[in-house]
């Protein structure tokens, strides 16, 4: 974990309301693991006080890549940042995914897919095996990272709510079908996406008895574990910090 002013190498619209941000910083990139995030100060003034956390999509050499969606004032401000400007970044932060050998299944919804791309690449490097990936989106235009995942060599299947591409329905419905078809269950499910998707997925994994790791989002205060602002209810009825114990949790550790 370190704090650095990172040069913006690129920051541009990729599709729908989604942007890709490329930052330059060797030290953060070198430390980054799949599932970790960085915390960016988007406002140099005091209008928007808090930093904004974004998952690492790719970390290579001196490059850190992020995929984000404009949803409010902070991400809107971020979208206006220009190439060559510098952003104050703290990272990498949090605990990432546990890399385990075996037949992994990755399930991503919305921008949640970003951290899974980093994970897929890492699984391939470490175990020389490519996971299957399910991507959920509202519509064809909102489908992220499909080709990036294919390039890594993953079998990628899409689910869209409007049926404009791939499976017509929710990614959790696709998941249920796929798992039913698989001769053996995946050895591990990794998921990142909206809370309702994760909730249903965790229910299904429990049903099929598949171990599962999920990446959670909360609005953060400090981002480093100091303020206790970002908690999620743990299985022992304690509160766990998304920024520190998470953002990736074993499904069994938390109550969604």
């Amino acid at each position: 974990m370190l704090q650095a002013k990172c040069r913006v190498l690129a920051n541009s619209l990729i599709c729908g309301n989604f942007f890709k941000l490329v930052l330059q910083n060797k030290s953060i990139a070198a430390q980054a693991k799949p599932g970790q995030f960085i915390n960016i100060r988007v406002d140099k003034g005091q209008d928007l006080l808090l930093r904004r956390p974004l998952s690492i999509y790719l970390a290579k050499d001196d490059k850190l890549e992020i995929i984000y969606k404009v949803v409010g004032r902070g991400t809107d401000k971020l979208a206006q940042v220009k190439e060559q400007e510098k952003l104050d970044v703290i990272g990498p932060l949090g605990n990432g995914y546990t890399l385990t050998a075996g037949k992994a299944l990755l399930v991503g919804g919305g921008t949640g897919i970003a951290s899974l791309v980093f994970l897929a690449a890492a699984l391939k490097t470490k175990f020389n095996s490519v996971p299957t990936v399910l991507i959920g989106a509202k519509s064809k235009e909102d489908l992220l990272c499909f080709t990036a995942l294919e390039k890594i060599g993953c079998a990628v299947k899409a689910a869209t709510a409007d049926g404009s591409v791939g499976f017509h329905g929710l990614v959790t419905e696709l998941f249920r079908e796929i798992v039913a078809i698989f001769s053996t269950h995946p050895s591990m499910v990794y998921a990142c996406g909206p809370r309702p998707m994760l909730r249903e997925l965790v229910r299904l994994c429990r049903h099929f008895r598949i171990p599962c790791e999920i990446s959670l989002e909360e609005h953060l205060g400090c981002g480093v574990g100091a303020c206790l602002g970002c908690v999620v209810k743990g299985a022992k009825n304690e509160y766990l910090r998304v920024c520190k114990e998470g953002p990736v949790f074993k499904a069994s550790e938390v109550i969604l």
């Binding site: 100060r41 005091q46 006080l49 808090l50 609005h219 205060g221």
Partner: protein
């Protein structure tokens, strides 16, 4: 950096810049980002006798120039604090101020008693946490007799310097400050957060399960500064000022108004370097204005 050292009662700080309770955990979290040895003091998250679970989500909400929080005093509790957190802090060359809070006078006493033999520099008695109900009528720090009683008893039980942390949610903060001074407090910390509310217009529910939450940040700076002014007028012991301090100029406003020391709260979230930037800024300010000592500026407000 001798010109920056200040005295809070019997406590000598190498510089006047602290980090505020609840915004810096137990120090560990920020140790990778800044050199803790450079801080004037670290005030720990308020601890209670038993571990506390805290409030459900959400616990934070941004407002214009401010942050509402409703953590609900989640903390590891006295035992774990003493076993795990305090030893960590003791490794650093900075003052450790342990913040304690309780739901009753007895609890404060038990905390003071239990902490008596531990090694740290001062006790901050938080009688002003807006996220827990203290008495039927409100916070301890809204009642001068209870404030007096708590500070008095803690002071008697503990050999450490005692700092009373007050709430700004009060008509006349001077009365409470005076009661704490009389009870033997070495210093007054002003302010804790202001009572605030946010409503989700879609669900028509309060954002926070506890309804009320505490506002901090630049939005409250002029209000906090006025409270420091009021307390300074009321007492002769040092004041520790906080509320929206984000840079050296903010710190100077508090110091000129009468704060012997200042604390950075939510500023740590915005940029963990703020406390160190302020320390460096103050040193430069002294040098370039030919002041030998920061004490020449403390309370120099000309009214």
């Amino acid at each position: 950096m001798d010109g920056l050292s200040v005295r809070i009662g019997s406590l000598l700080l190498k510089n006047p810049v602290m980090v505020a309770s609840g915004t810096f955990g137990y120090g560990e979290e920020y140790a990778q980002l800044i050199d803790l040895n450079k801080l004037g003091a670290i005030v720990t998250k308020s601890i209670t006798l038993k571990p506390r679970l805290g409030n459900p989500q959400p616990r934070l909400w941004e407002t214009q120039g401010g942050l509402l929080n409703s953590i609900g005093l989640q903390n590891v509790g006295l035992a774990t604090f003493v076993d795990e957190k305090l030893p960590y802090l003791q490794k650093y060359d900075t003052r450790i101020i342990v913040s304690i809070t309780g739901e009753s006078v007895v609890e404060y006493c038990q905390l003071a008693q239990a902490l008596k033999k531990e090694t740290f520099d001062a006790l901050e008695v938080n009688i002003s946490c807006p996220n827990v109900q203290h008495t039927k009528k409100g916070l301890f720090a809204q009642d001068k007799d209870l404030s007096y009683e708590i500070v008095r008893k803690v002071k008697r039980l503990s050999r450490k310097p005692v700092i009373a942390k007050l709430t700004p949610n009060i008509t006349d903060i001077g009365i409470i400050a005076k009661a704490c001074e009389k009870a033997g407090a070495e210093a007054i910390a002003v302010v804790n957060t202001f009572n605030g509310l946010a409503v989700d217009i879609k669900t028509k529910k309060p954002i926070f399960s506890n309804i009320v939450a505490g506002l901090c940040g630049p939005a409250i700076k002029p209000l906090a500064l006025y409270k420091v002014y009021e307390v300074k007028k009321a007492v002769n012991i040092p004041v520790i000022g906080m509320g929206g301090i984000m840079d050296m100029n903010d710190a100077l406003e508090f110091i000129i108004t009468g704060a012997t020391s200042v604390a950075v709260g939510v500023g740590n979230f915005v940029d963990p370097k703020i406390p160190l930037n302020i320390i460096r800024g103050l040193q430069n300010y002294l040098n370039s204005n030919q002041y030998k000592n920061i004490k020449q500026i403390i309370g120099s407000l000309e009214c």
